[in-house]
């Protein structure tokens, strides 16, 4: 037995050759040749059987009839590859579901940045404060948010395709109401509280050869610690609710939504501070201090923005879940 037949097409009809060419064009290069030879063989087998049953049948016509049993090349390509070749109803539903979550989150974060008085974008081109010079400018900026998010979601579907279903759907976060999990979450929150209140300055301290140490977190950031405690307390309230009334999913989700929204706002406010860290220039030298300040600031902003986005997505997901179960 041979591994693969020669590449020359044996199809007699132009319609069949065009069908195969269209299918090959829709498939990834690694798949195209193999599929082409397989499907061509199936067309020829079907045509041969049809001609055997009806000797008067023209071979090219027999191939055309075989194409009817294959369906469209787009349908075949969709079935063969993980990524959707066309935007079908399933793809459109997935896009809509993501947009219903992503756009409110994006607008919410932009509003928070605007309210916090930020003048620079948190993520240039993607996330920044809304213009307030006029209602038209604000409305256009919100429209711009929608356009960016549509592009992002379409890009995600194009790149990840069917694998998107394996990623936890946006706006459908998981939250266990199990008492054991609530206790574990409370312990984790307690550790975070100890870290934030007791160890924050010590963690973000740079030590010198002389033995001296200096914290590089600015006072503006340290002033947010009480607000971080409020957010931690809201998350703790959620887990206390789970311990006291484990059967009440709505109470659990309501407190989680509130805590997530508070976390998103806090993280956006933190990201919009004019200064987050300051390395001592007198000790490190202005170039080194400036470089370190710039690098660490960018890292912090990135973490704050990602954290804010995740929190906002969770909050919006929680609101949707509460609305959906309201009538239940």
């Amino acid at each position: 037995m041979m591994n693969t037949p020669d590449a020359a097409s044996r199809l007699q009809s132009a319609a069949a050759r065009a069908w195969i060419a269209r299918l090959s064009a829709l498939l990834p290069a690694a798949e195209a040749e193999r599929v082409r030879t397989d499907v061509e063989a199936m067309i020829l087998d079907h045509a041969e059987a049809a001609c055997s049953a009806d000797p008067a049948l023209d071979p090219a016509e027999a191939e055309r009839l075989a194409l009817e049993s294959l369906g469209s090349p787009e349908d075949m390509a969709d079935a063969l590859v993980d990524r959707p070749v066309r935007v079908t109803w399933a793809t459109w539903r997935s896009v809509q579901r993501m947009l219903w979550v992503l756009v409110p989150c994006h607008v919410l974060l932009s509003v928070v940045l605007t309210a916090a008085g930020s003048t620079t974008p948190a993520l240039p081109g993607l996330l920044g404060p809304l213009p307030t010079s006029s209602w038209a400018a604000t409305a256009l900026a919100v429209f711009g948010v929608l356009v960016v998010d549509v592009g992002l979601v379409v890009l995600l579907h194009a790149v990840f395709g069917a694998h998107l279903g394996r990623i936890r759907p946006l706006g459908d976060p998981r939250l266990s109401a199990n008492r054991g999990d609530a206790v574990r979450r409370l312990v984790f929150l307690a550790l975070v509280a100890v870290l934030v209140n007791g160890l924050l300055k010590r963690l973000f301290t740079v030590e010198f050869a002389s033995g001296e140490a200096a914290s590089f977190l600015v006072d503006d950031v340290l002033a947010l610690v009480p607000w971080a405690n409020v957010v931690l307390a809201l998350f703790a309230l959620r887990d206390v609710a789970a311990l006291v009334r484990p059967a009440s999913a709505r109470a659990l989700w309501a407190t989680d939504t509130l805590a997530s929204a508070a976390a998103a706002i806090l993280l956006v406010v933190a990201a919009s501070r004019p200064e987050l860290v300051r390395f001592p220039a007198d000790r490190l030298g202005p170039p080194t201090a400036s470089l370190l300040t710039s690098l660490v600031t960018r890292l912090f902003v990135f973490l704050f923005v990602v954290g804010a986005l995740v929190s906002a997505l969770r909050a919006v997901g929680g609101i949707r879940r509460l609305l959906a179960t309201r009538s239940a």
């Binding site: 041979m2 591994n3 037949p5 063989a41 087998d45 063969l80």
Partner: protein, 145 residues
């Protein structure tokens, strides 16, 4: 003789007073669900694509090549079947055959099918028995009234 009602359900007369109505849509869904299992059984011997289509049709699982080929391709990718080209005839033909791994998968699927079938039969038999009991408890019911 089979007839169909306004909802498209077919009726097979089994004898005087005995009618069994089937639902074509539900039947199609069921057949789709077991198609892979049936195909794996038929691939115990080497078959080429169109041959498998005809064998499935003969077994009551009418399917088009456009539906079968992606299934065969997936079987290949998951190594449940092996394939090779034969030039014994006038032109090359690709034959598919169940692999050892495919055999194991087929056995698991067959056991799963058995399990589901038994569970379904148990529910149906219980349901039919209670229908008979209800009918028996209500003497004088006239089904045509």
């Amino acid at each position: 003789m089979a007839a169909s009602d306004p909802k498209g359900r077919t009726t097979d007369a089994l004898g005087p007073g005995a009618e069994r109505v089937t639902d074509p849509r539900f039947e199609a869904e069921l057949r789709r669900g077991v198609l892979q299992l049936v195909a794996l059984f038929l691939l115990d011997q080497p078959r080429y694509g169109y041959d498998l289509v005809r064998s499935l049709a003969a077994a009551g699982f009418a399917i088009e090549e456009g539906t079968l080929y992606p299934i065969l391709r997936r079987f290949e990718q998951q190594r449940w079947v092996t394939s090779s080209w034969s030039t014994a005839g006038a032109r090359p033909r690709k034959y598919y055959r169940l692999s050892d791994e495919g055999r194991e998968v087929r056995e698991r699927m067959a056991h799963t099918w058995d399990h589901v079938r038994q569970a379904t039969d148990a529910v149906l038999e219980g349901g039919l028995a209670s229908e008979v009991a209800i009918d028996a408890e209500e003497p004088g019911d006239d089904e045509h009234s």
